[in-house]
Amino acid sequence: MRGEVPSVLKITDLVGYLPLVIFGLVLTYISLHAPNFLTLQSLELIVMQSLPVVLVCAGLAVVVMAGGDDVVSGGIDLSIPATAVLSAGITAQMLTSGMPLALCAVVALAACIVVGLSNAVLITKIGMTPLLTTLAMFVAVVGVNNVITVSRRINVDHSWIVALRAQEIAGIPAGILLVALIVAILFFAAHRTGWGLNLQAAGGSRDAAEISGIDANRLVAQSFVVAAFTGFLCGFFLLARGSGSSPGVQDNLMLEMVLATFLGAAFSPRRVVTLWGAVLGALLVAAISIGFKSIGVNVFWTGLIKGSLIVVVVAFSALAQRGR
């Protein structure tokens, strides 16, 4: 009997879209007050500014999918922003000493993968909790990066890096196209392949996955390497955005990444962290921040607004969940 009822849209389903509706209302309010906000140019600005966050969010989403969304005991990788900064730092440092970009990229990639593998080994072999491991890794990697760059800003004007920021292809910035491609590949891998489904199974219920012959540990390990890889890519977008590597970028990046990814779960009908949810979260958070700045909201208030938005969105999301 249960199986045959055609699914009709219920009130409770509508409640499920409330988080998006709230964001929609806020953005509408902003565009009413900032005439320039709804232009293509500002849309491009929002996307351009969020590219690094989008990349690390995608990485974090993969880790959360594989490890489960309990922040304390499940999957989380706080070290991705540090990896990104390391990637940027190594590349910038090597570029200034005149090495070719390809070589810089290879070395940076190797370093990032070492970080990802270390996370993977500490978590799956030694059994440390991801929150703790990646937090400590964050501190260590930032420390190493500071040794490499001597904590200074390094300007980078390599034409390829500049192209990530300035080049356009068919009127669309190349950076956006590239990130879209990367996200699409990750999306395909995580949501449209057996590997991805197994990854989600491992995070959804580790027991269930293992009973089904899925090697959950292996997938968790792989997710950390994927995350480190997104960190590596993000490093180049950091270089492009900041036209060089600056110390201290990682802290803000980490907060934004966590905020956007877990907020993204509120947008998913299943209320779980998904790749597209994380990406949407990153874009919406950027849109809101930029929007509030555009209408001249006192800068001291932005944190309060951000915090309250999380509360409202997440509380409504919890409400929708309970209403089921």
Binding site: G127, V142, V144, G303, A318
Partner: protein, 321 residues
């Protein structure tokens, strides 16, 4: 031969963290004899006091099965309320201290409302509190400028700078809180309930434990504790520095989880947290005395943190099996 290798590995794993702790102690002592001097050891203890207090508060929250990213905000509020009470309202030192603790409790109450009332996960709830609390401080201080009060009463300054029988007051305060927290979390009936709830909430509810009330109480008590840290911070430098509490968060999390890793069942616990805090304090101090370039020092500190944690966890697992 394999057996000998095995026993060595066994020993290493069994006493891993203790060995790491001792090894660093010896290393630091050899590197710079100053490390072992009474004054320096006292520095470590005194310098760890605020972190110890913050980590205690966090231990309580982690024991309930949650996390608190806003402990720094509670510290800031504690310091701000106390300094403003004295500088703007001219309250005496004791009332000011009480005002600070009450200020901290506001943060706890806010967290509790989000977590208990609105059922937002502690991670996201306290992240919001962090954003909101930071913003409130910036609004209040017109952007985040410190509020200095050089002429604060000596009694208040003594919270951080005095000593009781030769022991720095802040260390005494931290020690008293350690004892209180130990009794509360490891020996009292409330501690039993908190642990039950942290391990398996539905079962605790069915057992008739007032989980909401306990959770509420824990958030408020933890925040009040961190506000005491704020009092010490304010007394230390005779001013309130907005947004300064955040710098303790990562270390506090590390200390609590090192402590949990040392526990046979992986639970957050007071004595483990104490060990974690002292370890972090010792490493920071020891590296400072090694005369390394500061970038190298930071990197080493991070790497030591990762390795120490790995040892602590490996040790628990070796014991468990």
């Amino acid at each position: 031969m394999t057996t000998r290798a095995n026993t060595l590995r066994d020993v290493l794993l069994r006493f891993g963290f203790l060995i790491v702790f001792a090894a660093f102690f010896v290393l630091f002592a050899f590197w710079n004899p100053v490390f072992l001097q009474g004054g320096n050891l006292l520095n470590i203890v005194e310098g760890s006091a605020i972190l110890m207090i913050m980590a205690l508060g966090l231990t309580l929250i982690v024991a309930t099965g949650g996390i608190d990213l806003s402990i720094g905000i509670a510290l800031d509020f504690g310091a701000a309320f106390a300094v403003v009470a004295m500088s703007t309202y001219g309250l005496d030192w004791f009332s000011a201290a009480c005002a600070g603790v009450i200020g901290g409790s506001l943060v706890g109450i806010f967290n509790a409302i989000l977590v208990v009332g609105l059922r937002i996960s502690p991670f996201l709830a306290t992240l919001s509190t962090f954003f909101i609390g930071s913003s409130v401080q910036r609004i209040f201080t017109n952007g985040g400028g410190p509020i200095s009060y050089r002429r604060m009463p000596t009694e208040f300054r003594n919270i951080a700078q005095g000593d009781i029988l030769g022991v720095p007051t802040e260390a005494v305060i931290a020690a008293v809180l350690v004892v209180i927290y130990y009794l509360l979390l490891e020996r009292s009936i409330w501690g039993r309930r908190i642990h039950a709830m942290g391990m398996q909430r539905p079962a605790a509810i069915v057992a008739g434990i007032r989980v909401n009330r306990i959770l509420f109480g824990c958030f408020v008590f933890a925040a009040m504790t961190c506000a005491v840290g704020g009092l010490i911070a304010a007394a230390n430098i005779r001013m309130f520095t907005p947004l300064s509490g955040f710098s303790y968060l990562l270390d506090a999390i590390a200390a609590v989880f090192i402590g949990a890793a040392l526990h046979p069942r992986g639970r957050p616990n007071v004595l483990g947290t104490v060990a974690g805090v002292l370890f972090l304090g010792m490493v920071a101090n020891g590296l400072n005395l090694m005369g390394l370039n500061f970038n190298t020092k930071d990197a080493l500190q991070g790497i030591i943190l990762v390795s120490a944690l790995a040892f602590a966890v490996a040790q628990r697992r070796a014991r468990g099996s």
